[in-house]
């Protein structure tokens, strides 16, 4: 008996099952992205760029032209492509380290220029590929390999609020939202809105996706979900922060 797997059409069957760890949120974010691309019918125009870190494992994930770049450099590569060929729908996909640490200058300036690309940052509160070090998004008190006694905000600052920052520095026309892998329907909608914003030529579109990393969190299924739903969602508010044409930005509303 053949089983019809619920995969987006633009997923590449030959590279499934995917390369991410069991319980990793990347597969869910990429499913939301795949569904959004399917719904918008842009598989032929999309160019997917992935960063260094776990996101690089998506280099052959889709039946979509894909470039695996360097750590933090996916925004400029996709920017370069979009500037050279505006017909492309450019997606820059990265983790929180690539987006908010090593590539933060690129994120800030692409946002400030209102670059007409879509950036997706997967936030799992630490560096996954390199073995679980503290990231800009590590929660206060959270234990990682480089904050073994818990993140001390007095010494290392508070977790970066990416969408709030991008929202503050982008002009009208930009789209900014934060979704979570615990609400795939909403996340898919946010990513679809972001891609549509680029298709409409409105400017920068940005989605942060709260995600899971049981491997480095060292959590079982129950605790993984609990950390995502209770700890992360409390600090990182889910919802749309900015959308073109909306009179009152929805701000902190839980969408």
């Amino acid at each position: 008996m053949s089983v019809q797997l619920a995969m987006p059409n633009c997923w590449r069957m030959e590279s499934k099952p995917h390369k991410f760890c069991p319980g990793c949120g990347h597969g869910i974010v990429l499913k939301a992205l795949g569904q959004a691309i399917d719904e918008l019918g842009i598989q032929d125009r999309a160019v997917f760029g992935c960063d260094i870190g776990c996101s690089l494992l998506a280099w052959d994930f889709f039946n979509i032209d894909t470039i695996q770049t360097h750590h933090g450099r996916t925004n400029p590569v996709i920017t370069g492509i979009k500037r050279a060929n505006p017909n492309v729908i450019g997606v820059a996909y990265m983790g929180d380290g690539g987006g908010y640490a090593i590539g933060s200058q690129h994120l800030v300036n692409a946002a400030a220029r209102n670059e007409n690309i879509t950036a997706i940052v997967v936030n799992n509160t630490q560096y996954g590929m390199t073995g679980g070090q503290m990231a800009p998004t590590t929660l206060p008190g959270q234990k990682t390999e480089t904050s073994p006694y818990g993140r001390d905000v007095a010494k290392t600052g508070n977790p970066t609020l990416g969408p709030e920052m991008v929202s503050a520095i982008t002009p009208d026309g930009a789209y900014v939202a934060r979704g979570t892998v615990s609400n795939v329907k909403q996340l898919t909608k946010f990513i679809k809105n972001a891609l549509e914003n680029q298709m409409n030529g409105n400017g920068f579109s940005f989605v942060e996706a709260l995600s899971t990393c049981p491997t480095n969190w060292r959590t079982n299924a129950t605790d993984t979900w609990k950390f995502l739903e209770k700890e992360m969602s409390q600090y990182f508010t889910v919802g749309e922060l900015k959308a073109p044409g909306s009179q009152n930005e929805e701000g902190q509303a839980n969408g």
């Binding site: 160019v47 032209d65 690129h106």
Partner: protein, 361 residues
């Protein structure tokens, strides 16, 4: 593309940076990505004035990392894309260039050398030879043209695009602040009028058709799971590079294969070296001149012939032996004695070179 930028040959008198902008236009370069750093700024200044009139694009990025990576993106979109940098900017540029090396991206980078290490001086030096030929975490799979005149800046800017797109190795035009800032005459021309065809470009991504339906998707990566996988890829790149080398390696010389003393210099210093050698030869001295035009790859067989025939080789450069190290690797085991005149970060006159040759001849 709009009508030809240069309709007929035109004698002009301009700065080197302006020459580069015109050369890139003549080569049908379509987009420049750049970040300000002295002494290459005027390339951007001229490009931004010329580009809109000629349907070309420009993006000023947030730093050289971004300038390099957007250039990588530009060529992957199938455009003749280029950038320009110098000194500390060239240091940052090495990261995107290493990606270009790994993925065989036909980027063109103009380097107007300045003094180093660090911020140092802003006008003149030949101290970016090591960085430009062998920088990044890689094996130096790139082509580097070292120009000496404004005519060459024009000629090799055009040629760099063809070399890059034909062989798919990142390609550099390596000049310096003197060449960038001084005015000199040259003849500008439409490449087609000289029989130069621009090698066609091709997109890596964003081709016609739906990937997975009408065609295979382009999946481009620079990371590998196992050592053997990388090893195999690199062997292919080395083979391509070695096959290309005799076709791209260039040099200029005067009596280098039959002289007992040969002066080797590159770039603008080679002008002084050539003048010195010509003077000495007129006086009857048995002195030759050799100038590598490509610093990477070098014209190794010709250099070895020179180094096996001459008794002494005098290497002259405005660096503390950066080209000298490349030469010594190329001529390892040859019989000539290696002597030097190194003046890192400062100019070297024909008179100084002539005086040094008189000491050793």
């Amino acid at each position: 593309m709009a009508e030809k930028v240069i309709q007929e040959e035109k004698r002009v008198f301009m700065t080197g940076n302006e020459v580069v902008a015109w050369g890139a236009l003549a080569a049908n370069a379509e987009i420049m990505y750049g970040y300000p750093i002295t002494p290459q700024n005027e390339i951007m200044h001229y490009w931004t004035r010329l580009a809109p009139k000629n349907e070309r694009e420009f993006l000023q990025t947030e730093d050289e990392l971004s300038a390099g990576f957007t250039t990588n993106g530009g060529v992957m979109a199938g455009r003749r894309a280029f950038t320009a940098t110098a000194g500390p900017g060239n240091t940052l540029m090495q990261e995107p260039i290493s990606m270009a090396e790994a993925m065989r991206l036909p980027t063109v980078t103009i380097v107007q050398q300045r003094g180093g290490p660090s911020t140092a001086t802003v006008i003149y030096s030949q101290q970016e030879v090591t960085l430009t030929t062998l920088g990044g975490n890689g094996e130096g799979l790139r082509v580097v043209y070292s120009t000496a005149t404004h005519q060459e800046l024009f000629d090799y800017t055009i040629k760099a695009f063809n070399t890059a797109w034909k062989y798919r190795f990142p390609t550099f035009v390596l000049a310096d602040g003197y060449q960038a800032k001084m005015r000199e005459s040259l003849v500008m021309y439409d490449p087609a009028s000289k029989g130069i065809e621009m090698f066609p470009t091709e997109p890596f991504v964003g081709k016609e058709g739906t990937p997975g339906v009408d065609r295979e998707p382009g999946h481009f990566r620079n990371t590998y799971n196992v050592e053997e996988e990388l090893y195999d890829v690199l062997q292919e790149h080395f083979a391509d590079y070695n096959k290309m080398t005799p076709e791209v390696a260039e040099y200029k010389e005067i009596g280098s294969k039959e002289s007992k003393v040969v002066v080797i210099a590159h770039g603008v210093v080679a002008r002084g070296a050539k003048a010195a050698v010509e003077d000495l030869r007129a006086e009857g001295f048995n002195v030759g001149f050799f100038r590598p035009v490509t610093l990477r790859p070098l014209a190794v067989p010709e250099l070895r012939e020179v180094a096996n025939n001459a008794d002494k080789i005098l290497v002259v450069e405005s660096a503390n032996g950066q080209m000298d190290r490349l030469l010594k690797e190329a001529i390892y085991g040859c019989s000539a004695e290696m002597l030097s005149l190194f003046k890192p970060g400062v100019g070297i006159t024909a008179e100084e070179i002539e005086a040094r040759v008189r000491e050793i001849v």
